[in-house]
């Protein structure tokens, strides 16, 4: 079962911006080191509840936060193969 998703960013600044936007929207999220198996520009990613994917994505789009990709995760750090 997919519990979490992970958002990848091009820059650390965008990750911080995303965190600020989602915290303001009362979403439970956590900044984590980017899982190495996912190719990414930036060492920090944002983990979120996969059930809230469309909501989270909408918040970021609305706030014009630049992000690289959204991936599902099977547990806290392992991504789904």
């Amino acid at each position: 079962m997919i519990k979490f998703g992970v958002i990848l960013f091009h820059t650390n600044t965008s990750a911080m911006q995303a965190e600020a936007v989602l915290v303001r929207a009362n979403k439970e999220i956590k900044l984590i080191p980017t899982p190495r198996e996912l190719s990414s520009d930036c060492g920090i990613s944002l983990r979120f509840d996969w059930n809230l994917k469309s909501e989270v994505e909408a918040h970021l789009v609305r706030a014009k936060v630049d992000f690289a990709a959204i991936h599902p995760m099977q547990d806290n750090l392992q991504t789904q193969q």
Binding site: T11, T13, A15, P33, C42, G43, I44
Partner: protein, 384 residues
Amino acid sequence: MIYLDYAATSWPKPKEVGRAMSDFMEFSGGNPGRSGHRLSISAARIVFNTRQAVADLFHAPDPLRVIFTANVTHALNLALCGILKPGDHVVTSSIEHNSVMRPLRALEKDGIRLTVVQCNKDGCLDLDAWRAAVTPGTRLVVVTHASNVMGTVLPIKEIAGIAHQAGALLLVDSAQTAGVIPIDQPTMGIDLLAFTGHKGLYGPTGTGGLVIGEGVDTSQMRPIVRGGTGSRSEYEEQPDLLPDKYESGTVNSVGIAGLGAGVRWVQSIGVESIRAREAELNELFLSGLHNIRGITVYGPQNPEERTAVVSCRIAGHNVSEVGLRLDDEFGILCRVGLHCAPSAHKTIGTFPEGTIRLAPGIFTSPEDIRTVIAAFEKAANPHD
């Protein structure tokens, strides 16, 4: 002691600034944007919060276009050296600080064409002369928002209109105005806004930055320093991403923590209120000094056209002698000489000796100003 050197750096700093820096050292000392552990993330969050606070202060829509630099000089160099190429035409005013003049004179040797438009004796710009200098081939226009010597404020909106009509970008040096005069970057038409953290924003030295407007194509602006950014680490080429493209190497995170506290403190008072308060001090200063025999005050009389920075001279006394007496006998701390702006002093006719510059700030009281005027009366006319 009366500190009147805010134009060089503000002092004292609000206690919130020192506390933010001390807290950063104690609780958030990781490298922002490099690692994924809690101390690194905490540091990155503080750096981002300052970036957002700076963007909000200048009404800039995108915090990613706020680039942190070591100071305003570094920011001005980034804009000038990053954008200009041999053959480009640049227009500037004759009241610029050497932080603009020196990079421009060096770039001139590399082949840029430079036009310096002469300001009048008060440092005010003749907009007709300015209009004639900015041509359709002009690449960049660079001006100070306000003179660091005599406080003259330049009409940025009009300058922006003329620059944009010719297809040129506008770079503004806000060293003397950020936190002192309200700045709305998009509305005023400022394409590149260079600011310092340690003057009107009440942050620590070693902080400043460049706010890049939406109209600037950053693919056409080279970085002046390249290196690690924490992003695109698999490549040996500099990334094109903002702010990383222009922020190689670890930023001054503890300084930026202090800057954030300074900006929030300034915002809590309100730049409009600061401007009004400084205008009152300025009026007291100007009227007091004008009544003293032997004192010449430089710069415009109209408070709308100036900041609170006052430059003056006492007939028959050299400025360094007066500066030393003010410090030793009266405990008044100011800066005398050329203020790193020889061109501005040539413009107002005070080169090469310079002036006595009195620059009050938020912690200066009307009583301080009255004490300073009394000291000038004694210094100018000791036998009265």
